[in-house]
């Protein structure tokens, strides 16, 4: 039996976090939820996930800085990242796009089914 895909969710909003964990776990994924931006990179360094779902507005360290820093780390340079924010302004999107992200979606625009599909689809196939 192959190992479960490992996904780190960086999301400070508890309501979202709960739904993520519920839904993705039921999809058979291993999920770690982090609600403080400052904790994201240490967690990633401890164990590199298959995918990072990153919110942008977070306490501790915002998503932009997290992205910026992790891209500077050799071990995390190739990490797949999906930005899941509620910021829909083009400028926000443009800011993160320069860090080689895999996808960007606005949470409130998508149903949880669509979000799950996107995440599952984004996990690299072994």
């Amino acid at each position: 039996m192959t190992q479960k895909p490992f996904v780190v969710i960086a999301e400070d909003e508890k309501a979202y976090g709960k739904v993520y964990v519920n839904k993705l776990t039921s999809e058979g994924l291993e999920v770690v939820l982090i609600s403080n931006g400052a904790d994201v990179i240490p967690t990633l360094l401890k164990r590199k996930p298959n995918l990072l779902v990153l919110d942008l507005i977070m306490p501790g360290m915002d998503g932009f800085n997290v992205l910026k820093q992790l891209r500077q780390m050799p071990e995390l340079q190739d990490l797949r990242v999906i930005v899941a924010s509620n910021l829909s302004q083009d400028i926000d999107k443009a800011k993160v796009e320069e860090f080689n992200i895999y996808g960007y979606f606005v949470k409130s625009d998508l149903s949880i089914e669509e979000v799950t599909e996107k995440i599952v689809e984004a996990i690299p196939k072994a």
């Binding site: 909003e13 309501a15 979202y16 739904v19 519920n22 839904k23 507005i57 924010s85 509620n86 910021l87 829909s88 302004q89 083009d90 400028i91 926000d92 999107k93 443009a94 606005v106 949470k107 409130s108 625009d109 149903s111 949880i112 089914e113 979000v115």
Partner: protein
């Protein structure tokens, strides 16, 4: 005296006025013709007078001169012939002269006739006057001369010569006596002596000889014895006396008798004739010099008249030209009420009339101009006031010369000195933030190149205190013959507005995040709940479903609001890529079908089959456009209705039509349809949901691409929306 003078002057003055008036009314050309005509008439008249005098000379003086000369010549000839005649009569061949027609006599008579003829000619040429008087003196002399001469010739004929006439008879008697007395010596001697005296007398015609003859005769008489001899002798003496008597008539010498008379007459006549001739000659030369004189006088007179008339004419004209120039001088000095007197209809009169009209128009024009200038200065004042009041710097840029003129705003808004109000374009360029200069240059160059009438740009502009502020510059560009000549516009300090915009952006950013976060959470949780809908009591499932629908609507509203905010700030991010319009429309239709089904509305997109419409634009924005129109169409179509989607390829664009058979748009709402937050009146009264932002978003995107959106609507029949997308849509520039 004065009254009498006045009574003379008055009519003269009146006449002068009439003549001047008449001349003034004649056209200048007519005046000149009149002048020339008058001069020609005068010349003809004077030439006539001269010709008359010349003819006088040629018809009278020249013949008279000839006649007088001929007359004198004839007289001289007559005198010569007279002497010649007398000489001839005393010469040996006098017989021939006296018996036959004497040549001298004939010549004399011929000359007398010549004389007389010329005399008559002269008296005819000069029937009166000095010459006539001279001639009258001559006439009796001449008659007497002729008579005397004829008498003389008669006497000579009577006398005869040698062998004929009285003298011949005398000699014959003398010879008879000689013969008779030959017998007596004494008487013969005495007779011979007597005969000698007789011969001497005949030869010399000495008066003394006559008494000698008579003495000798008295001495001889007694010697004669015979009666016959005595009778013969007496007859001889008587004959001698007769011859003496004839000689005495002729004249013994040049001073007595007919010869004396003749020479006397000649002496008296000649001066008269000479005088007459002299007079005639004098007259002739007089008349020739008088011709010269009259030609001279004529010329002088003619010249004088011509000059006088020229002066009068020119004064008539110049006086009025002076009036005109005086008038123009006054008008030039600004006296527009000045009117030139018009009293004639000639060219000058017309000129004067036109001049007056011109002045009137000038006056009128000036008044209008003054009023306009007044109005203009009013508006300038107003403009200056506005300049003071508005919070912007108005400018005028003369593109050709580069001159830049600012309104008061450059002082009040940007803190510059009033002296900077008039400057050159470089002054402005130097005060633009270096980072903005290129963008301004290229946008301005592009507008000018495309002959656009407007230009608008935001840039950072340095205030007098060195601080850069955000400005918005809007200008209107004027062109002349395709070349930009002027730009008028205004520069507004928008830094405050910029700050507000930034605040708004942040607000929207935060708001969108803050609103979406709970919304997303609600949505996802409701979705999780609805997954378990079968395990819920039916009424609870319905509540959950309603909450979910409202949440979706709320999310849509938030998205619409964000779109509008982006459009308002010109912050639409546009990433053009090759896009198949048909594919996007099909996808949008596919998304809409479930909702349409709920509303029991059918979407017909069969026309889209097998077509493609590829253009370069941002597919996300286009999808938004179609989604909006489709959702409207579905929303406003009643159950069992139909929405028809189609696309047509035109020469320059694709036209997409979305037709519904819904409630239609009331006529009064149609103009406002594309404005923000507007919803048709008949929509708000129904329970159909809508933010009123969709069509605004649609129009904003489509027009940004250079396309057009419009509709045709009939209430209760339906509405068709059309969107035209150019084959080459305009590329939008992102603003940050």
């Amino acid at each position: 005296m004065a009254a009498a003078q006045a009574s003379i002057i008055k009519p003269i003055k009146r006449l002068k006025r009439v003549i001047v008036g008449f001349l003034d009314n004649l056209s200048i050309r007519a005046k000149l013709f009149l002048y020339a005509g008058f001069l020609i008439a005068l010349m003809v008249l004077l030439a006539g007078a001269v010709l008359y005098q010349v003819s006088e000379v040629s018809n009278r003086h020249i013949p008279a001169r000839a006649a007088a000369r001929d007359m004198e010549a004839a007289l001289l000839t007559m005198q010569v012939q007279e002497l010649s005649f007398i000489n001839e009569t005393d010469s040996l061949n006098s017989e021939f002269y006296l018996k036959q027609n004497s040549v001298s006599l004939n010549t004399w008579q011929e000359n007398y006739r010549i004389f007389e003829t010329n005399y008559r000619t002269l008296t005819k040429l000069f029937p009166q006057g000095e010459v006539k008087r001279e001639l009258d003196v001559i006439e009796p002399f001449m008659a007497r001369y002729r008579d005397t001469f004829l008498a003389l010739t008669g006497a000579y004929r009577e006398r005869g010569f040698q062998s004929f006439g009285r003298e011949g008879v005398l000699r014959t008697r003398a010879e008879s006596l000689e013969t008779n007395l030959a017998s007596s010596n004494a008487s013969l001697v005495a007779f011979l002596r007597l005969q000698g005296a007789q011969e001497r007398f005949l030869l010399y015609r000495e008066a003394a000889t006559i008494s000698t003859f008579h003495d000798y005769a008295a001495q001889l008489r007694p010697l004669l014895v015979k009666a016959e001899d005595r009778n013969l002798f007496d007859e001889y003496v008587r004959l001698f006396d007769e011859v003496v008597a004839i000689y005495k008539r002729i004249g013994l010498n040049n001073v007595d008798g007919l010869r004396g008379q003749l020479s006397q007459l000649m002496k008296e006549t000649t001066p008269h004739i000479q005088a007459a001739e002299a007079t005639v000659l004098l007259r002739t030369s007089d008349s020739i010099s008088s011709i010269a004189r009259s030609i001279l006088i004529t010329t002088v007179l003619l010249a004088a008249v011509a000059i006088l008339m020229a002066i009068v004419l020119s004064r008539l004209i110049i006086k009025r030209i002076d009036l005109l120039s005086e008038g123009s001088r006054r008008i030039a000095a600004g006296n527009f009420n000045y009117q030139l007197p018009v009293h004639a209809t000639d060219e000058l009169g017309q000129l004067t009339q036109s001049f007056n009209t011109m002045v009137e128009q000038l006056h009128h024009g000036r008044q209008t101009l003054r009023e306009r200038a007044h109005a203009l200065s009013d508006s300038v004042k107003r403009f200056e006031l506005i300049n003071h009041v508005v919070n912007e710097a108005i400018y005028e840029w003369d593109i050709k010369s580069g001159k830049l003129t600012w309104g008061e705003g450059i002082v009040s808004v940007f803190g510059y000195q009033p002296a900077d109000k008039t400057t050159m374009i470089d002054w402005w360029t130097e005060r633009i933030h270096p980072e903005d200069v290129d963008a301004i240059d290229s946008s301005l160059a592009e507008r000018l190149h495309r002959h656009s009438n407007t230009w608008k740009k935001e840039y950072r502009f340095k205030k007098a205190n060195g601080e850069y502020v955000y400005c918005q510059d809007r200008g209107i560009i004027e062109y002349h013959n395709g070349k930009p000549i002027r730009m008028i516009g205004s520069v507004i300090d928008v830094s405050h507005q910029k700050a507000l915009d930034r605040a708004k952006d942040e607000f929207i950013s935060i708001a969108s995040h803050q609103l979406r976060t709970p919304l997303g959470s609600i949505r996802w949780n409701l979705e999780l709940l609805l997954e378990k809908v079968k395990s819920l009591p039916p009424n609870l499932a319905e509540y959950a479903q309603d909450a979910y629908t409202s949440t979706l609507r709320m999310a849509g509203l938030v998205n619409d609001l964000l779109s509008v905010a982006r459009i308002d700030q010109d912050r639409v991010k546009n990433i053009p890529e090759n896009t198949d319009l048909v594919a996007i429309i099909k996808a949008a239709v596919g998304e809409m079908v479930p909702i349409a089904k709920v509303n029991r509305v059918r979407i017909d997109s069969t026309q889209l089959r097998n077509t493609r419409a590829e253009v370069l634009l941002d597919p996300k924005r286009f999808r938004e456009v179609i989604q909006n129109l489709l959702s409207n169409a579905v929303k406003y179509t009643p159950p069992k209705g139909k929405v028809v989607v189609a696309i047509e390829n035109h020469s320059k664009d694709y036209t997409i039509s979305i037709a519904d058979d819904g409630i239609g748009i009331p006529l009064e709402d149609q103009p406002k349809l594309f404005t923000k937050f507007y919803r048709a009146t008949n929509v708000t009264t129904t329970d159909t949901e809508g933010s009123g932002l969709g069509l605004f978003v649609v129009r904003s995107y489509v027009e940004a691409w250079g396309g057009r959106v419009w509709f045709v609507s009939h209430p209760n029949q339906g509405t068709t929306f059309y969107v035209s997308i150019p084959h080459k849509p305009r590329v939008l520039k992102e603003r940050t």
